[in-house]
Amino acid sequence: MADILIIEDDAHVALTVQATLAMAGYGCDILPDGRDAVARAASGKYDLLLLDVMLPGEDGFALMEKLRDCGVPVIFLTARQDVLDKVSGLRLGAEDYIVKPFEALELLARIEVVLRRYHKLSGVLTYGELRADTEKHEVTERGEPVALTPKEFDMLVFLMQHVDVAVTREQLLQAVWGYNFMGETRTVDMHIRQLRKKLHLSDGLVTIPKLGYRLESRKGH
């Protein structure tokens, strides 16, 4: 999995981000300020930088100017929600701009988008006997192709990206249908039923009461 460098002065936020990234299987290191950031970023060890804007000493925007040449994608983490700040952050060459406070899954989803854009993530996801190729849009079970509708495929990919993580119906709606989709969560349930039937996931894809669904890894697979 990819390695991520967190540059964040608040120890608890850094710890939180680290725990979130660890859950998704990323390796990560923490820097409390920007002093060594350029050297560390240039070392080639990291696939992505998470950069806080309000840092002691040099702030995130100033740091970004120096980090641009390292070729490592940067996502800003910031408490400022001013549109102008966002624009100036993105203009400096950042890939994304995440406003605090954020939920764990939101952070992961946006990190994945950036990493995928930089081809730092493999296009092939596996779960047990299942293989999903996100580039070819193909799913195979024990080598046999399975026919899925595009929405079913997207939903499967989202679940396979978050194995052992409970995702809510709303998050699935957003991930598959987009942020502005005003659909009903029942749509999600229907697609989940289809996935369970077509891919024999009635055991692995469990319903979490009052929350949503979780694709659980199985020992022995």
């Binding site: 608040d10 939180t16 859950m23 406070p101 954020f102 939920e103 764990a104 052992d164």
Partner: protein
Amino acid sequence: MKLYTWQRLFLGVLAFCLAAGGVAAVLLVQSAFSASLAREESLAVSLHAEAVRSGASPSDGDGFFGGSRLYGEDDSFLKPLPAELSPDGEALSAFVSEVTRAEGCLVRVEPAGSARLLLVGSPVTRGGQLYAFLSVRDITPLYENRHSLSVRALTALLLGSFAVAAAAGAVCALLLRPLSGVNRALRKSASGPLELHLPERGGQELRTLTVSVNAMAQATAEQTRLLQETADSRKRFADSMAHEMKTPLTSILCMADLLRIKRSVTESERLEYAGVIVEEAKRMRALSSKLLTLASADGTSPDFRECLLSELLEEVRAALQPILDRRSLRLTLAGEDTAVSVDRQLFQTLLINLIDNAAKASADGQQILLYHTVQDGNLLLAVIDEGIGMTETEVRRATEAFWMADKSRSRKEGGAGLGLTLCSEIVKLHDAAMTITSEPGKGTTVQLTVPLRRKAPVREKKEG
């Protein structure tokens, strides 16, 4: 009509000159003409009388006027009237019949072609026959004279009026020229930054105007600067506040989300995540209580009461005793006692904050001195510690909201970076002044100057 003042003045003067001059010219020309006419008439009448007396007898030779005799001009009598001086036949016969009916002498002006004739007639009886005895004078030059005089007068009037009006307009434009400079400068400053200083020139009114405009521009610029400063500090406060609120929220939200969505959480993970949540929630609690105190200090009018300083200080010491004991710090109160008029609650909050700050800066076992004295109707209060001190830059930033000298350490002690901001608000409410002097490694002194009586006419202000 959108006209410049000089244009208005020009038109006004022109109209006035034309009207007044016109009336005067008409009256003048008319009176000159009337005088000449009267002269001419009296001359004609006397000549006529002479002719009648001399017994010039009407000849019936030419039969032109039914027996009357005509006397031409050039004062030569007994000459028939030249053809070009013959009046219109109808008017003449009407005049003749009028004359024959009249008792005395009749005078009349009659047009004859382009000429004017002065007719003088009187009835005469010759040989039992009634005749109209007429004499005629050519007074055309009189009329020609009047005409040419009128033309000359009109020309002179027009030229003169224009000249006077133009002069008035020019003088006006010249006098008001500084106004266009004022106008230009104002227009420029309306679209750009208000930096305006007009040169003072022109008449007294214009000078007064420029002085007023300059004063206004200066006041506006000052206001704008103040507003900008307020807006800047609001923005800084909002930015810092967003940061201070959202940082703990981030940890809380993200950690709680992890606890919710992870399939399995180990015991150590649970302790770690929940620990972060609890600590950050406490941080938010400290921040919100400070913010509330700040908001109430900002919004309400303080309740000033007379009280004894020594009582107040003992309560402060009692409130701080647990913290002081834990760090084995000594708080020494010294100085003369006095009655002071303050908002008890707020003033205690102020002192507790200052001593708490001193405690945070001190090492365990050090001394904090609170010295108080009365000077020039003011209570002087100094909180002196022997702690780590601050650099000059740090002193300048100390009252800024959310600023902390040592972030990680203050946070651990429940600091939100609002203590001194609150203090300076309370100081302002008491019309007091607060100065901070500090030296790194030597300690910090915070001095308060509080007026003893409310509504004192002298408002002491000392800048730190």
